[in-house]
């Protein structure tokens, strides 16, 4: 087919069709951008509906929670006591300590006084007062106490010798020790 139109007219048609093509691209891009924005707006709207629904769900749950206030008050009390148990109970097994002291006492020693507790200006400790007829047993007792796991640094505070009318000797003594793991 032969195009008989003049060259400049032909060029103008060519140009117009290319410009229209380009404008079509512009329109498509703009439409796509608009659709994207509309999609985003729809997504936001749905999310907002979802948020509102969850919010009302939370409010409903809060109302239900209020209705169970009797149980929650008691549960809060129990929970609080569960958390604080260590603060209000003993960390030292005193019964084991007393048992260990009895086991470590030499057979020829009689304890006359045992004090466990804090004395003025001192940490918790143990004062053992007793009597024996053999001075050596006091030293042995002190050494034996040193081997006990719950006791620290036993030291003999004093040994008093008493002589009987028949010439027999007896000794009274006091041993002081510390106690491990006392808070």
């Amino acid at each position: 087919m032969i195009n008989l139109l003049p060259k400049d007219v032909q060029q103008r048609y060519h140009l117009s069709s290319r410009v229209y093509g380009l404008v079509l691209v512009y329109v498509v891009v703009l439409v796509l951008l608009g659709l994207g924005a509309a999609g985003l707006a729809t997504y936001n709207y749905q999310q907002q509906l979802d948020i509102n629904q969850k919010q009302s769900q939370i409010n409903a749950l809060a109302t239900q929670k209020k209705q169970q206030s009797s149980a929650t008050t008691k549960a809060a009390f129990i929970e609080d006591r569960l958390k604080t148990v260590t603060t209000y109970t003993d960390s030292v097994h005193w019964e084991n300590l007393l048992s260990e002291i009895a086991s470590a006492t030499p057979t020829d020693i009689q304890i006359t006084a045992l004090h466990v507790g804090a004395t003025a200006g001192k940490a918790t400790g143990i004062d053992i007062t007793g009597s024996t007829t053999d001075r050596r047993s006091i030293v042995l007792y002190s050494q034996k106490l040193a081997t006990l796991s719950d006791i620290t640094a036993p030291s003999i505070q004093n040994i008093n010798e008493t002589k009987g009318s028949n010439g027999s000797k007896s000794f009274t003594f006091t041993i002081n020790t510390g106690v491990k793991d006392v808070h």
């Binding site: 951008l33 936001n44 929970e79 569960l82 005193w94």
Partner: protein, 251 residues
């Protein structure tokens, strides 16, 4: 060749204005809102799940009121909201009876609780002790010098073994306590022991039940099952017989 086309310039300018307008003015707020909504939605989902979990646990507790009531009363005996010395005395009385220690006396201050931050033992002259020996009791006296902790003493004639057993029982005693002093003396063939311990009281929590631990009931059961109660809390509406024509008449 487009340069000469006025239509091209107009449409391009319009495209740029509209396109850039959409990109700069419409997209950013939409995107930021979408992000914000997504975060809020995730948070709310977590909150809903948490609230549902919490409510499930609370409903479980509500349906098992016997267990909750029992645990609550154990907790209230272990660490009451008030000094509750009267019940402490009843508990100690029961403890001594269970160990058959009839010659041991209980001394405990009857006091009102005032919360204090620094623990301090009652000084002489401020605490009004109530002494109970055997089955006889004296009238409770309200002490104005109240503490959130009070000290009780168990003293009397007992063997070393009995003292040891008493100390052991205090560890599992229903009312939580801390032994402060143990004194055992031997004079004239008799062994006398004095055990001094502290008991505490703490105001009921003001915070809500957290419900964060699903094993809460099991843990509470395990804890409170270790402790032994020696007396039930007196309830005048349920026990005792009342009414005397002459209350001064001998029993």
């Amino acid at each position: 060749m487009f340069i000469k086309s006025r239509f091209f310039w107009l449409s391009t300018a319009l495209f740029l204005v509209l396109g850039l307008g959409i990109i700069w003015k419409i997209y950013p707020p939409l995107l930021s809102q979408a992000r914000q909504n997504k975060t809020q939605n995730t948070d709310l989902t977590a909150q809903v799940n948490q609230a549902q979990q919490y409510l499930t646990l609370v409903k479980q507790l509500s349906s098992d009121t016997t267990t909750v009531d029992s645990l609550y009363s154990s907790a209230a005996v272990a660490l009451p909201a008030s000094a509750d010395t009267e019940n402490l005395l009843l508990q100690l009385d029961g403890l001594l009876a269970s160990l058959k220690l009839s010659n041991v006396s209980i001394t405990a201050p009857i006091s009102q609780v005032v919360s204090t931050t620094s623990p301090a033992a009652p000084t002489s002259g401020t605490a009004v002790p109530q002494t109970q020996t055997g089955s006889s009791t004296t009238t409770p006296v309200v002490n104005s010098d109240a503490k959130s902790q009070s000290t009780f003493t168990l003293s009397g004639e007992m063997s070393y073994g009995s003292a040891l057993q008493l100390v052991q029982k205090l560890r599992t005693f229903a009312r939580w306590n801390k032994i402060t002093v143990i004194d055992i003396t031997q004079t004239g063939g008799k062994t006398t022991a004095t055990i001094t311990a502290q008991v505490f009281s703490k105001a009921a929590p003001t915070s809500d039940f957290s419900g964060s631990d699903n094993q809460f009931i099991t843990k509470a059961k395990n804890l409170f099952s270790q402790y032994q109660s020696y007396a039930s809390v007196p309830d005048a509406t349920k026990e005792g017989s009342y009414g005397r024509s002459d209350p001064f008449a001998g029993l």
